[in-house]
């Protein structure tokens, strides 16, 4: 189920603007990798190249290579749709389908993969995914109400349920907890710990404690100046990054000293 991602010499451009420069990293299966770094350093940009979502942005382009196990996902013969079914994504801003009920939102992706799900199976998927996302108790009595009627944090958990309902090999999460209260945040962190037994997980976070709590490995990104490309400064075991990182920049960021 879980797959390894191997990134080599990856550059991302928005038109002429060089947004991310020369990233090399390996994302291990059955583990959680956290991306940290200041705002605007290219974490979201880089994350989106891992399931070819960057192609949706007009003008965005990529050079380099991303391997999912032994498949080069940028190979012309590879269908981006197939890549995205393997590599799911939770966005920085919650985006449930406004015209769908909570129930249908959870099932949206599952139905794409398998049009004819029995009602029993569908109910099971919905309940399991919502329980995992710590949302079940809050919505079990209004599954047929629109997903857009939920609070911001509930919507984000609904999106997490929607992404896990399809059981992807890799799950990319872009600041999934930035709109959540501490209890839901803990629930999502529990979910992440549980999911990593079977999946490969990447999580972008601005919360250092969260990175330290949930991740096995941490990647630190930084950008020298606005207008310059963001870079991967270092990646390593979370313990090591948070206690004795190789680079001075990483240490400054972790300890809250900038400059």
């Amino acid at each position: 189920m879980a797959k390894r991602i191997d990134v080599s010499d990856l550059n991302v451009y928005y038109g002429k603007f060089h947004a991310v420069e020369n990233v090399n990293m390996t994302i291990e299966p059955r583990s959680v990798t956290a991306f940290i770094g200041s705002s605007g350093c290219g974490k979201t940009t880089f994350l989106r190249t891992l399931n070819r979502m960057h192609e949706v942005t007009p003008g965005a382009s990529v050079t380099g290579k991303v391997m999912l196990d032994d498949i080069d996902i940028y190979d012309p013969s590879v269908d981006p749709v197939a890549v995205r079914r393997e590599i799911g994504m939770v966005f920085q801003r919650a985006n449930p389908f406004p015209t769908m009920s909570i129930y249908d939102n959870v099932l949206a992706g599952a139905k794409l993969n398998n049009q004819r799900i029995s009602k029993r199976r569908a109910d099971e998927i919905v309940e399991r995914s919502l329980r995992d996302a710590n949302l079940w108790d809050e919505v079990k009595n209004r599954l047929n109400k629109p997903g857009a009627g939920l609070s911001g944090g509930q919507q984000q958990r609904l999106c997490i349920a929607r992404a896990t309902a399809v059981e992807p090999a890799v799950l990319l999460m872009d600041e999934p907890c930035s709109a959540l209260d501490p209890i839901s945040t803990l629930a999502i962190e529990d979910l992440i710990s549980k999911l990593k037994e079977n999946y490969t997980i990447v999580i972008v976070t601005h919360n250092m404690q969260q990175a330290a709590r949930v991740s096995d490995r941490t990647a630190f990104f930084n950008v020298e100046d606005t207008g310059k490309p963001g870079k991967l400064i270092e990646i390593g075991d979370t313990n090591k990054i948070f206690t004795k990182p190789d680079k001075k920049e990483t240490e400054n960021y972790i300890t809250g000293r900038f400059g």
Partner: protein, 320 residues
């Protein structure tokens, strides 16, 4: 503190009414009232003018299909066939135009390269600029002849469906031809409305679908069409309002008769608007008053459809 108090109140002027505001508010209100007055005036005119013939009518105005009001004694007339024809023509136009309009709008917004999309949008808008009499000419001089063999095929293969039962009109001047031309005429408005709502689908929703592994078509079904549906329905109903009242094209194309006939390939049927245009020059006795009564019915139908459209379009605002 005490000294600044008085100067503070002096600095904030009392709410006074500025001349520009007053003039603008007044003229805006005046224009609004004027529209209402015109509308009420037209309705009253139709009502008052139609009363004499309706009082004298010896037939049933709503259920009769006869039209014999051109006399000073005992006129007999009814709008049943006309209502049927009007609604039928508009429905044919709607059924033909809506899927095409949705297709064009989706193509413009999601498939076409930018340049082509701009050109296509422009061409569709141009269709709206063609006067209806020109559509009528095109329809009767060219299109009906071209459609004739196609109607023959329809009858051969689909004749078992009552709608397409023969014998096919030898001129091709049928309800289906009229509906087809009406469809072309209402295509631009439905396309424009659909294109607008499809463009408004939030990027976040489209990305949500794509990230789940939706193909472009699945993304459209999942995120675009449900979001755009109220707008498309509103556009379709506005188009239908136009088709209901369309006069010249129908009057030129259709070879009319006052019957209630569901056979689209045979000549027959007539719409209210075309009937008024064709009958008016010949009207005498209670004739004009009877035509005005028919006009009142058309006014009511169109008003109902337009209000329905407004209702649907305004409902989608709550959704977003």
């Amino acid at each position: 503190m005490t000294t600044t108090d008085s100067s503070a109140t002096a600095r904030i002027p009392k709410g006074k009414r500025r001349l520009g505001d007053v003039v603008f508010a007044g003229s805006a209100r005046g224009a609004g009232i004027l529209i209402l007055l015109i509308l009420a005036g037209v309705a009253t005119f139709l009502l008052i003018q139609s009363v004499p013939s309706l009082m004298a009518n010896t037939g049933n105005f709503l259920t009769s299909t006869e039209w014999d009001p051109n006399t000073n004694e005992e006129p007999r007339f009814g709008v049943a066939a006309l209502i049927f024809g009007t609604v039928l023509a508009a429905l044919i136009a709607l059924v033909l135009a809506t899927p095409v309009a949705i297709g064009i709008a989706l193509f413009i917004v999601y498939y076409a390269p930018r340049r082509l999309a701009a050109i296509l949008g422009y061409v569709v808008d141009l269709l709206a600029a063609i006067p209806s009499v020109v559509y009528g000419l095109w329809g009767v001089v060219y299109l009906v002849g071209e459609l004739r063999p196609f109607y023959g095929m329809l009858e051969t293969y689909l004749g078992w469906i009552p709608l397409f039962a023969g014998p096919v009109s030898s001129t091709g001047r049928t309800m289906l031809s009229a509906g087809l031309v009406l469809a072309v005429m209402i295509l631009p408005i439905i396309t424009a409305m659909s294109r607008d709502v499809f463009q408004q689908v939030p990027q976040a929703n489209r990305e949500a679908a794509l990230a789940l592994g939706a193909t472009r078509w699945e993304m459209i079904r999942m995120a675009v069409l449900p979001f755009g549906r109220p707008g498309v329905i509103g556009g379709a109903m506005l188009g239908m309002g136009r088709a209901l009242g369309e006069t010249m094209a129908v009057a030129m194309i259709l070879s009319p008769s006052l019957v209630i006939s569901p056979f689209l390939l045979q000549s027959g049927n007539q719409t209210i608007a075309a009937h008024i245009a064709l009958e008016y020059p010949e009207a005498s006795g209670f004739g004009v008053s009877a035509l005005i009564a028919a006009g009142l019915v058309l006014f009511a139908i169109t008003l109902a459809v337009n209000m329905g459209a407004r209702f649907v379009v305004s409902r989608r605002k709550e959704f977003v």
